[in-house]
């Protein structure tokens, strides 16, 4: 519980972060930016976990533990994605989304 701040305000913030992430994912041209957008989406959900845990079940820690899990998974995912991007760069000297069309063939 944080005094003077209601759960609605916090959830509004995380929703904004989430939709910024979605918007970024769809509109960015650069693979790295897309990856960062995904991080935003994940961060929004992590904050949600902590907030909801804190406001609904203040005596328990599940939400917090899950948020740590998500951070770990997100880190692994980012490492993987970055390595893919590096390999891709070696192949086509570009990390632009429009150049990655070749992968569909």
């Amino acid at each position: 519980m944080i005094f003077g701040v209601s759960i609605y305000e916090l959830l509004t913030v995380t929703s904004i972060i989430f939709f910024i992430g979605v918007y970024g994912f769809i509109t960015r041209k650069n693979l790295i930016s897309i990856l960062i957008s995904i991080e935003l989406v994940l961060n929004a959900s992590v904050v949600n976990f902590v907030v909801i845990n804190k406001y609904l079940y203040p005596d328990m820690l599940q939400g917090v533990v899950f948020s740590i899990f998500i951070i770990a998974v997100a880190a692994a995912e980012t490492a993987l994605a970055v390595s893919i991007i590096i390999n891709l760069y070696r192949q086509i000297s570009s990390v632009e989304v429009k150049d990655i069309e070749v992968m569909k063939h």
Partner: protein, 639 residues
């Protein structure tokens, strides 16, 4: 009686075929000949052992020869209709085992000499093994479907052997012709088999041939165009048999089949392929006899008699010695069919059936001998034509004597083998149908005449000056000749009526002296005429040709049957039926398929264009979809 070892009789030739076929290149020619002969010797010994066991030891129960069957179920169609594989032992199959193994063994021995130096020596023995295997399988079949399988195998092996000299266009054409004509007839056979299976619910010979069985008792249950369905089936099956046995009008393949090596002709003509048709009718004899009071059997008799006469007339004018023998075979097979056709069922009435099988037995011996003798002659003079031969008796004494014995036997001179069997057929025909009897008698005279025309033409006649003096064939070739000559002499003394009868109860056959006398007289007249015309070189025959003129020309050209068939197939079938059908196929059927294929391809191209390959487009679609569904659930699905 233990039946287990009988399966070895066909298996051994099959093993020989596989061995020689697979190791074709590795086996030395000399060895492969011995392998073939050895395999067949074992088969022949087993066949004789089987015959001894069956006829003298265990086959008879209360004076009736039993039908012994050992089989396993192979394919189940319905609860009652299944296809079995196995061996069936009864008097005719045992007799056929003897005939096939003896003739095939002789042909194997003979081929070692005849084919010496041929490039495909091993291949040849492999094919002979396959042929013998197929024929054994056909003989031992327990049901219609099994017989059909081996029937086709016989067709394949004859195709391989007739076309053995595959570099020669005429041999290839002959092989194709034999295959296609018999195949065409087999279509009838197959439809017949399916009809029998449909209406009686079984393929098994035991059930079908049982005179008290449902197949024979209920033949009138269904009728089609005035005849019962089973009669139609039997007629169709007979068409298959007529194709293999070269009955009129499906005979055109037989003379051309002479393109194969001579031992093959001997094997095809004496023991294997062509007697398959006779064997088939004999195998189903109770059905032929009882269904619709023997309607189908009468057709067999008439076709047999006509073929016999027709072929004998053509045989008189042919100049290729193997073709004379080919038409002679056709004529004698007609005789056998005729014998079956005029036979009754019980006791002494079954004399026609007995005589037919007897004639098959004796004919195998002397016809094999004639062909092998002809092969020996061809081997010596390197020609098939009578005009290139003459006075060979000085050069080839053994061939001369054995050929003479065979010719006397086929002409029905007592006491040689052919006399006994031919006489019994004529007795049966006399009791049944006088017209057929007189046809048979006339054919007997013709047979004697053309056989001795051949004999005098080859071994007497003009004194031909040979470039290389012909010499007697090697022992490997004369040995089978001598063996078969002995068999042709003594074969007639086998008391056949004790062993092979339609109701499987032996009876005693007696010579009918007046009829036998007439038959012999006719035969002797034929021989005497041939003596007058061909013993010494003279122009009597040329004058006779002038008298007959047109008729001679027709006969010489085999009544233009090949031309008629060619006209029908090429001008009518190919042009009027096949060509439009081909057009329809190419344009309409293929066109439809092409349209379907092409439209699929173009549709897939369109769909491919919708996919950009960019993750973001997909993600956009995905998220857009989620938003739409969320809106739907939130605002519309609130009821």
């Amino acid at each position: 009686m233990n039946l287990n070892y009988i399966i070895l009789i066909p298996i051994i030739p099959l093993a020989v075929f596989l061995l020689l076929g697979i190791f074709n290149q590795k086996i030395k020619p000399g060895v492969s000949g011995y392998v073939g002969v050895l395999g067949l010797t074992v088969s022949a010994i087993l066949s004789f052992y089987t015959a001894y066991q069956y006829f003298f030891a265990h086959g008879k129960v209360d004076g009736v020869y039993q039908t012994l069957v050992s089989k396993t179920t192979w394919m189940n169609f319905t609860d009652t209709l299944s296809i079995d594989m196995g061996v069936l032992i009864d008097p005719i199959s045992v007799m056929m085992l003897i005939v096939v193994s003896v003739v095939s063994l002789m042909v194997h021995i003979y081929s070692r000499g005849y084919m010496k130096g041929d490039a495909g020596y091993t291949k040849f023995f492999a094919f002979l093994g396959l042929f013998t295997f197929s024929m054994f399988g056909l003989v031992l079949a327990t049901n219609l479907f099994q017989i059909y399988i081996f029937w086709e195998l016989v067709g394949v092996s004859s195709y391989l052997l007739i076309g053995y000299y595959y570099t020669k266009p005429s041999a290839v054409a002959a092989a194709k012709k034999a295959f296609i004509v018999t195949r065409f007839a087999d279509l009838g056979f197959l439809i017949g088999i399916l009809t029998v299976g449909y209406y009686t619910g079984t393929f098994d010979f035991e059930t079908l041939n049982n005179p008290e069985g449902s197949a024979i008792l209920n033949w009138a249950s269904t009728s089609f165009m005035g005849l019962s369905a089973l009669t139609w089936a039997l007629i169709l099956i007979f068409i298959g048999g007529a194709g293999k046995s070269a009955m009129f009008p499906l005979h055109i393949w037989l003379p051309d089949a002479m393109e194969g090596p001579t031992p093959v002709s001997a094997l095809i003509h004496a023991a294997t392929m062509v007697v398959a048709g006779v064997y088939l009718v004999a195998r189903l004899f109770p059905m032929y006899y009882f269904v619709e009071h023997g309607f189908a059997l009468n057709i067999v008799a008439v076709v047999g008699a006509f073929s016999s006469l027709f072929a004998a007339i053509i045989a008189i004018t042919q100049t290729d010695i193997k073709r004379v023998l080919a038409f002679s075979t056709m004529s004698q097979l007609g005789y056998m069919m005729l014998g079956l056709g005029v036979s009754g069922y019980e006791g002494h009435d079954g004399v026609g059936y007995m005589a037919s099988m007897f004639h098959l037995f004796t004919h195998a011996m002397f016809k094999a001998l004639l062909f092998l003798g002809a092969g020996s002659v061809i081997h010596a003079v390197h020609s098939n034509y009578l005009k290139d031969m003459g006075s060979l008796r000085k050069h080839m004494p053994i061939t001369n004597i054995t050929f003479l014995i065979a010719a006397l036997a086929i002409a029905g001179v007592p006491p040689l083998a052919g006399f006994w069997s031919k006489d019994e057929i004529l007795v049966a025909a006399f009791e049944h149908n006088k017209l057929i009897y007189f046809v048979g008698l006339f054919v007997a005279g013709l047979t004697a005449f053309y056989m001795f025309r051949l004999y005098f033409g080859i071994f007497w006649g003009k004194d031909t000056k040979y470039k290389h003096a012909p010499h007697e064939s090697p022992l490997s070739m004369t040995f089978p000749l001598i063996v078969l000559a002995v068999l042709s002499v003594v074969g007639g003394f086998v008391p056949f009526s004790e062993f092979v009868t339609p109701d499987k109860v032996g009876f005693e056959a007696h010579l009918n002296y007046p009829l036998a006398g007439v038959a012999v007289l006719v035969g002797v007249i034929g021989i005497a005429l041939a003596w007058v015309f061909y013993k010494k070189e003279n122009n009597l025959s040329d004058r006779l040709v002038k008298v007959f003129g047109m008729f001679y020309k027709w006969t010489y050209n085999k009544f233009y049957f090949d031309e008629i068939y060619l006209f029908v197939t090429k001008k009518i079938l190919f042009k009027r039926v096949s060509a439009p059908a081909a057009w329809f196929d190419r344009h309409v059927v293929d066109g439809t398929m092409n349209v379907i294929g092409n439209s699929t391809v173009s549709a897939s191209k369109k769909i491919k264009g919708m996919q950009s390959g960019k993750i973001q487009d997909y993600a956009f679609a995905f998220i857009g979809g989620v938003v739409v569904i969320a809106l739907v659930f939130i605002y519309l699905w609130t009821v």
